[in-house]
Every structure is written in structure tokens, then in C-alpha cells.
């Protein structure tokens, strides 16, 4: 029994049907971790991108070093660090929060590069036209550069959304009951791993296909020339 659900081992099909609700509970945790991790990655990545673009090296340089460090160390190492080292200094976070934070931080290093590339891809001519019209740099950034950068950013961000989703099982090592961890526990209890693990693979496929389709839809809906302003 897990989460109050019993399993039925009379046949593979009955077994699968009986553990589906348990796996769906795990899947819901996976989705939450993905979404929160992705939001952290999007927001923190934007912060990195802005800091790295700062005209003062005293701001830009530490941001560059930090993102480089985050990118070049494994997610698992960062996760262990947050989960085991921080409590030594009195910072105790729930496992789920630690895990999603680690995911978000890891991916913020990647998303910051996507932002940078998207912003830089907006042609110099657009900046010149804005300057000739005497628009302020802030207005130019928010109303000329960002709307044109968004369609370039969306597909790459979509890839990272799927990557984050596929990295969520790493959180199982710090006891987060995401889908893979749930399936493993079910397997441990029933001595049948084939069915739950196959189901995790199938459910993952469904999730990633849906996420990819959503991103493609958004990408197709956004005009290539930028978010339209009437």
C-alpha cells in the first residue's frame, strides 16, 4: 500500500491499473517541480543576463563567473550541497523546495545565454532607428528589443523546459517523491519493477510530447517579426 492505494498483482494489466493512481500522484509532483524549476530558471536567468550585460565589470564579471561555475558543475553536486551543507548553517529547506531550487539555478545558467543571444540578435538598425526617434534606452529595450527577442527565445526555452522535466528524477536522491521515486518504491514493495518503470517511461513520453507540442504551438503563434504591437 502506498498513499492509501492497494496494488493488485493478479495480472500485469491489473497491476498496472492498480498502481496508475499512485504514479499519477508522483507525476503531479514531477509536473510541479518542472514548472517551479522552470519559473526559477526563467526569472534567475533574466537576472544573470541583465547583470552580465551591465556596463560595469564589477557587476558583469561575478555574474559571468557564477553562471560559468553553475554550468560546469553537475546538478547532483549542487543538489547535495543545498540539501546537506545549507542545514549546517541553519538554512533548512524542505526537500521539494531544495530540489526545485537546484533545478532552477542549474538551468538559469543556460537560460541567461538564451536571453543574451535573443537580445543581441535584434539588429543594430533597430537601435539606430529608436535613437533617431529619440526614444529612451529603457523604452527602446522594453518596446523595441524585447518584443522582437521573444520569438527567438521561445523555442530554446521550450527545449530547456523539456530538459528540466527529464532532470526531475534526480530529486529522488534527496527523497522527493516524484514519479520515478514512487515507481521505485512500488517496485521495492512488489518485487515487480518492469511494470512500474515501463509506465514511468510511457508517462514521461506523454508529458514531454505534450510540453513540446505546447512550445511548438506558442512558437507558431508568435509572429517571427516580434510580439505584435498595434
Amino acid at each position: 500500500m502506498l498513499f492509501g492505494f492497494e496494488w493488485d498483482l493478479s495480472s500485469p494489466a491489473a497491476y498496472a491499473a492498480s498502481i496508475l493512481p499512485i504514479l499519477l500522484i508522483g507525476m503531479w509532483v514531477t509536473i510541479q517541480a518542472t514548472v517551479i524549476g522552470f519559473i526559477v530558471a526563467l526569472v534567475l536567468g533574466l537576472v544573470w543576463a541583465v547583470l552580465k550585460a551591465a556596463p560595469f565589470r564589477i557587476i558583469a564579471w561575478p555574474a559571468t563567473v557564477m553562471t560559468e561555475f553553475i554550468r560546469d558543475t553537475p546538478l547532483l553536486v549542487q543538489l547535495f550541497f543545498l540539501y546537506y551543507v545549507l542545514p549546517e548553517y541553519g538554512i533548512v529547506l524542505p526537500a521539494f523546495m531544495t530540489g526545485t531550487l537546484a533545478l532552477g539555478i542549474q538551468y538559469s545558467a543556460y537560460t541567461s545565454e538564451v536571453y543574451r543571444a535573443g537580445i543581441e540578435a535584434v539588429a543594430k538598425y533597430q537601435h539606430e532607428a529608436a535613437r533617431a526617434l529619440n526614444l529612451t534606452p529603457a523604452r527602446t529595450f522594453t518596446h523595441i528589443v524585447v518584443p522582437q527577442a521573444v520569438p527567438r527565445i521561445v523555442p530554446a526555452m521550450g527545449n530547456y523546459l523539456v530538459s528540466i522535466m527529464k532532470d526531475v528524477p534526480v530529486l529522488s536522491v534527496v527523497t522527493v517523491l516524484e514519479m520515478l521515486n514512487v515507481a521505485k518504491i512500488v517496485g521495492d514493495r512488489t518485487f515487480n519493477y518492469l511494470v512500474p518503470l515501463s509506465m514511468v517511461g510511457g508517462l514521461y513520453l506523454v508529458m514531454t510530447l505534450v510540453a513540446s507540442a505546447g512550445v511548438r504551438l506558442l512558437d507558431g503563434w508568435l509572429p517571427k517579426q516580434g510580439v505584435p504591437l498595434k
Binding site: E128, A132, L133, N134, L135, Q225, L229
Partner: protein
């Protein structure tokens, strides 16, 4: 020239080792229509880009309406201009770009009203009224709700002209406005510029390769060569009886 609106006084501009403007002296009178012709790399476009504050200068003084453009009056003479000073000076100038440089994500109307609303502080209704008048002027009254990519190059450039005019500049700079257009679309843009030149007291500075057009609309034509004005005069003088060999060679090359 009495009280020129634009004055270049021994202006130097370098890109690395290359001297693009070599102690250039150049003046444009109020309301004057001046064409700048010359081979590529002669510094023609740089003159416009300096005036639009898209490029700084390395020496000399540029004045617009009697006030230094790239300098400010300081306690001990001229000092380099602050961004606030450039912002103030830019209100007098407008530019039409070779590549149009419209904002691709904004409708034609929004392209024209964005800066008047945000920079000049016009109400949306006022800006819209002004934009509609200007679209009428450039013959695109029915295209206000379209996006730039839905228009031909010639139409886009006419929007570019309307957008620049919406800021009510004293001086309008045209940087090879027809060079990026298919030949059959050049005429419609030149017509608009020609009509502006005839009907408005706007000062116009035009860099162009359209010799016949330069001859038609200009009060004065300047032949640029190697960062200086090699020869200048009325279109009549310059095109029919050039004094300099370089001018003659250039005109022969482009007119044949």
C-alpha cells in the same frame, strides 16, 4: 552663408586608422535642399550619421541651429555632450534610413505614433491624427493597420518618411533612401521626397546615387571625395560644367 542651420567646422572622423572625414567644413542653410554625392567610402553617410548622433566625432565642432551638437558649453569652454544634451538636440533632426528600419512588430500607425506619444508627449488621439495626415501625404492612408512586412519596399520607405516627419524635425536627413529598393519602386519614393522638397520649408540633406533626382530637387549639390567636399555648386554648375577632374570622372562613371 548667414546663419546656417547646420555647420561642420573642421570635423574629423576616424574609424581605426581610416580617416573618413578629414577636417570637413560644410554648411547647410535654413530650408536649403542639399544633395551629397560621391563614391562609396567618401564619408557621405557619415555626415548624416554624425548629425543624427549615431556616430561621434574625433575633432572639430558640429553646430545645429547655432548650438554645438557633440559639445556643451561648460565653465571653461566646450566639453563633450552629455546624453541629455544629445537628447535635446536630436529633436531637431529626423532620419530616413537606407534599410527603412521600421519596427517590424508594430503596425504602420504605431510605427509613426510611438515616438510622438512617448517622446513629444502627444496624446494618442493627437498622434493618430498627425500620423493619418502624414500617411495621406505619402499616399498610404489605407495601410495604417498593416505591418511592415505586408508592404512593398517602396511603401515601407514612405512609412519611414512619415515616421521621421511625425517628430516635426527642422532638418530631415535621407541616407540613400532608394538604394535598397527594386528599380520599379524607386519612383514612388522619389516622388514623395520631391513633393516634400517643393512644398515644405524643411531643410533637407540627401545622400543619394540618383543623379537625375539630385539635380531636380537640390538647391545645391556637394561632391564628396576622400572625406572632404571636392566640389560644390548649383546642380546646373556641378552636373553640366564640373571644374574638377575627380568630379568629371565620377559623374561620367555614374551617368553612363
Amino acid at each position: 552663408m548667414n546663419d546656417p542651420i547646420i555647420k561642420f567646422d573642421k570635423v574629423i572622423k576616424r574609424f581605426g586608422d581610416l580617416t573618413v572625414l578629414d577636417e570637413l567644413d560644410f554648411e547647410v542653410g535654413r530650408g536649403e535642399k542639399v544633395s551629397i554625392i560621391g563614391p562609396s567610402g567618401s564619408g557621405k553617410s557619415t555626415v548624416l550619421r554624425i548629425l543624427m548622433t549615431l556616430e561621434g566625432i574625433d575633432g572639430g565642432v558640429v553646430t545645429v541651429n547655432g548650438e554645438p551638437l557633440w559639445h556643451e558649453e561648460g565653465p571653461d569652454g566646450l566639453r563633450p555632450a552629455s546624453e541629455a544634451h544629445l537628447h535635446k538636440m536630436r529633436t531637431q533632426l529626423g532620419m530616413v534610413f537606407q534599410q527603412f528600419n521600421l519596427f517590424p512588430h508594430m503596425t504602420v500607425l504605431r510605427n509613426i505614433t510611438e515616438a510622438p506619444v512617448k517622446v513629444l508627449g502627444l496624446s494618442k488621439a493627437e498622434a493618430k491624427g498627425r500620423a493619418e495626415e502624414l500617411l495621406e501625404l505619402v499616399g498610404l492612408a489605407d495601410q495604417a493597420q498593416k505591418y511592415p512586412h505586408q508592404l512593398s519596399g517602396g511603401q515601407q520607405q514612405r512609412v519611414g518618411i512619415a515616421r521621421a516627419l511625425a517628430m516635426r524635425p527642422n532638418v530631415l536627413l535621407f541616407d540613400e533612401p532608394t538604394s535598397a529598393l527594386d528599380p520599379e519602386l524607386v519612383g514612388e519614393v522619389l516622388n514623395v521626397i520631391g513633393r516634400l522638397a517643393e512644398e515644405h520649408d524643411l531643410t533637407m540633406l540627401l545622400v543619394t546615387h540618383e543623379m537625375r533626382f539630385a539635380r531636380e530637387i537640390s538647391d545645391r549639390v556637394c561632391f564628396f571625395d576622400q572625406g572632404r567636399i571636392r566640389e560644390e555648386g548649383t546642380p546646373e554648375e556641378l552636373f553640366t560644367d564640373p571644374k574638377e577632374d575627380r568630379t568629371r570622372e565620377f559623374l561620367k562613371a555614374v551617368l553612363d
